[in-house]
């Protein structure tokens, strides 16, 4: 991989980062803190929305602030503000200690952090070519309008929604051990959906692009990493075919799940289930817990022996990819499921210490300076079979099944057992061949049954990165961007529902 050509913006480096760090960390040490860290974050977000090729909204926001987190007599304290002066940094250090004191009466577990080498002068810039905030707004709107018009011009397409969200995230991290880290990441999420309405029957339906959000710049919209033209050209016909497709007969089918759908199933049923904070109960009242408890590490049969899952914060263009996490831990890659058995969790420094591990694997993340870092998801990905088949070869091996493409509706329970997913489109498979679309499909399963039925994974040629900007967790709520790579995969005899029948019609 070539070295990134970009550098951190001068306007961020020009902020009084070192002075804020010295002020806050010195005060925290004076107040007796065992550990203190300071983050300064500037997050620029722009969302362009078009409705039927006409501008609906273009909003541009920047969030700049600082936060001090301390461990004081074994208890966490956290305070955040928006005034970037040394005096405010000192005040936040004092307030964080005050919060720790209020909290001490409620704390029984003593906070200790797993050690991390000091990174005194670290820099990271994500891999992108064109900073989306260097592109004129009018060019962005014009590009999305052109895409919308092309789809809108087709017979049967009544409405088109198009949007693109762009984020530039800049962080400075400093701690009392001496780490000083500056990072800049860019990500974009373009999206287009076509809608058809049948006034006579009142029926309506939609088809959305499969292009995933990615850690890329504006070049992603102009040909790098995705063939937009080809995808937009086929949307109207795919939608027309969907509206005329027969409603699915509910029952059990072999599912061939495309990576454009499978990434989300991995996210929900493997990604969240292998977050150690959930498994330990920290999220029990909100996001939930996990069936994959630490006492089963090394023994839990998660799926069939074909299942190989890794966690990483290093994948090129991954949305969770960083240089260092929000506790100053260097990005790593590790095994989560090996030969179908649970072998690893996602960690932060406190939990790594609790588990007696020598080091965190670097999964702490805060979505802004206003929020405390919590353990958030790495890029959790299903490995392709190095000698595995193409999608056509996979389908050829299925006698009676359904090919699932694109994500849509998703829901999973608080212990990550029972899930239900729909998709953008579904094809019947008969005798190893696609036999047209079917509609109203949802697939429902229990996580370990589903992964236990994994019969075959595709080769590297089928591997794709999917992802989302808006993974939710923690109270107060925080969102995190994350990607999941996977090949096409076959699952045997999965329960398929008819969503119209589920609605009682």
């Amino acid at each position: 991989m070539p070295a990134p050509t970009r550098s951190v913006d001068e306007s961020f480096l020009a902020l009084p980062l070192s002075a804020l760090a010295e002020a806050a960390l010195t005060r925290a040490v004076d107040l007796g803190c065992e550990h203190a860290d300071l983050r300064v974050e500037r997050i620029r977000t722009q969302t362009v929305r078009l409705r039927d090729a006409r501008p609906e909204s273009l909003s541009d926001a920047e969030d700049l602030g600082l936060a001090v987190r301390v461990v004081h007599e074994g208890t966490w304290g956290f305070a955040a503000g928006v005034v970037l002066t040394a005096a405010e940094a000192v005040r936040l250090a004092e307030e964080a200690v005050a919060v720790a004191r209020v909290s001490a009466a409620l704390s029984t577990d003593r906070v200790e952090l797993a050690p991390e080498p000091v990174h005194p002068d670290a820099r990271y810039v994500s891999d992108y070519d064109v900073d989306p905030f260097d592109v004129p707004d009018a060019d962005k709107t014009a590009l999305l309008a052109d895409m919308s018009e092309r789809v809108l011009a087709a017979d049967g397409v009544e409405h088109v929604q198009a949007s693109c969200m762009q984020v530039k995230e800049q962080k400075f991290y400093a701690d009392t051990a001496g780490s000083r880290i500056v990072q800049q990441r860019v990500r974009v999420h373009p999206d287009l959906e076509a809608l058809t309405v049948d006034r006579a029957t009142g029926a309506f339906d939609s088809m959305r692009t499969l292009l995933p959000p990615a850690g890329r710049g504006w070049e992603y919209l102009t040909g790098t990493g995705w063939d937009w033209d080809a995808e937009l050209a086929e949307i109207p016909e795919l939608l027309r075919e969907k509206t005329k497709a027969p409603s699915v007969d509910p029952g059990r089918y072999d599912l061939v799940v495309d990576p454009t759908n499978l990434w989300l199933t991995i996210h929900e049923s493997v990604g969240h289930a292998t977050e150690l904070d959930r498994a330990l109960g920290y999220e029990a009242a909100y996001a939930g817990t996990s069936f994959a408890t630490p006492d089963q590490l090394g023994t839990l049969r998660y799926g069939s022996p074909v299942m190989q899952v890794t966690g990483d914060r290093t994948a090129p263009h991954g949305l969770s990819t960083v240089g260092w996490d929000d506790e100053g831990v260097q990005a790593q890659e590790w095994d989560v499921v090996r030969d179908g058995v649970l072998v690893g969790y996602q960690l932060d420094r406190n939990m790594a210490r609790l588990r007696g591990l020598p080091r965190s694997n670097g999964c702490a993340f805060a979505d802004s300076s206003a929020h405390v870092p919590v353990q958030r998801m790495a890029n959790v990905s299903l490995r392709a079979d190095p000698d595995g088949p193409s999608t056509e070869e996979v389908i050829a091996g299925v006698d009676r099944g359904i090919y699932v493409v694109g994500d849509k509706s998703w829901s999973i329970d608080m212990q990550r057992y029972n899930f239900q997913f729909t998709g953008q489109r579904f094809y019947r498979i008969e005798g190893g061949r696609l036999a047209g679309q079917v509609r109203d499909v949802a697939y429902q399963a229990t996580t370990t049954d589903f992964w236990g039925s994994l019969r075959r994974v595709g080769g590297p040629g089928t591997y794709r990165l999917g992802g989302a900007f808006n993974c939710g967790k923690a109270q107060p709520g925080q969102t995190a961007p994350v990607s999941h790579g996977c090949p096409v995969a076959v699952f045997e005899q999965v329960s398929v529902l008819n969503t119209v029948q589920e609605g009682g019609r």
Binding site: T47, R51, R54, P55, L58, S59, D60, A61, E62, L64, W76, F78, A79, A80, G81, V82, V83, V99, V102, S103, A105, L106, T108, D137, H159, L195, V197, R199, G202, F204, G281, Y282, E283, A284, A285, Y286, G288, T289, H371, V372, W410, S411, I412, D413, M414, Q415, Y417, N418, Q420, T422, T446, A474, Q475, P476, G477, L497, T499, E502, G503, G504
Partner: protein, 465 residues
Amino acid sequence: MTARRAQDVVEQVLAASTADAQITYVVEGSEANLRWAGNSLTTNGAMRSRRVAVISFVDGGAGMAVGSVARSGFPDVAELVAASEHAARTAGPAEDAVPLIGPDGGAPAATGDWDADAAETSIDVFADFAPALGQAFGEARDRGRLLFGFAEHRMETVYLGSSTGLRLRHDQPTGRVELNGKSADFGTSVWAGTGTRDFRDVSVPDLAAEVDRRYGWSQRTVELPAGRYETVLPPSAVSDLMIYLYWTMEARDADEGRNVFARTGGGTRTGERLAALPLTLRSDPAEPGLECAPFQVVGGSSSAASVFDNGMATPAVNWLEDGVLANLVRPRAWALKTTAPATAAVDNLVLEHPGATASLDDMLAATDRGLLLTTLWYIREVDPQTLLLTGLTRDGVYLVEGGEVTGAVNNFRFNESPVDLLGRVVEAGRTERTLPREWNDWFTRAAMPPLRVPDFNMSSVSPAS
């Protein structure tokens, strides 16, 4: 030099405008929170924020165009105004353009004191709550049980000014507490929660007593299969379904035939009976205990709101009247286009059955055999055509037999449409303030009755506890 007081920032930004019109608002925020797990604190925080938003309106000849820019903290006023105006000058004409609201038409008659300082909260809001919680931890520990949960208090003051002369201010306190009890093996899980404006009305012993009552119900466990069951939904579960329905009530989408409120053949379902009972679903910014902003603050247009409607009064509105769909959310521009009333969304929601007196306990006493839910979770849209939603039951499904709770049942995945459900409700109890479980990150001001549904669709069993 940027002013420190929010009101002065609004005046500076308005004075710097060279656009045809401008809306500016500053939101001053403060918040404090405590989070706990396994009878011990896990995270906490005290945060302050400030957001300055500038919306410039420029008519380049083809129609009014909009530039909306927001920055946190204390941005440079000249740069901020320039960025907003540049965005407006390079944007195409807005589809939702209408004249801005002024003091003489469309704005609320009276709002908070413009000149007063912003309201604030701090970690001290928990001065009584934290020790009481510590005591509850001790009691739980003594019984071999675990407590999890979250308490948060936020205060936001918005100052909204416009080039048409509006100066509107609103203080919004928002608080919530969730208390989740679990057995040591996590096999039993129970929940109690409440919304609050100031934490003075929050009683940890009352919440702990509700948690204890539900432990009592969980001593006997019963395995039940998927199927359709007579089900009593408590106010929290009702609120999460009704909030989703409310969020879908967009007139434009209905007019365009693309949501559940579209009428076959064109138009909306306004005037159609949706509920079998004479239920009222309504919002009111002055609702006691659920008070919220009496005017609109909009950063970006959508089918639910328009930046041109900033400052527009949001009076009390009935969404359902006597079980009949009465109103949909409709920005002014779309109202003009469709000759229908402009109606703004309000940040609270009340469902009522006029004259109902039955409490949840009364409804259980009148249940021969059925299920009682606690909360709903992970609610997602499966089919927009019918507004079919899926989700899970959470933290307590109880079997009711002969008027009494006789045990705790496994959890289920449900597939249900709140619109369809309204048509099948056979009994509604008396309305009370409740905390939505699924949506309380975004929506805490709700009052709902318990509802009885004869055939709630439990699609499959969830092994989760």
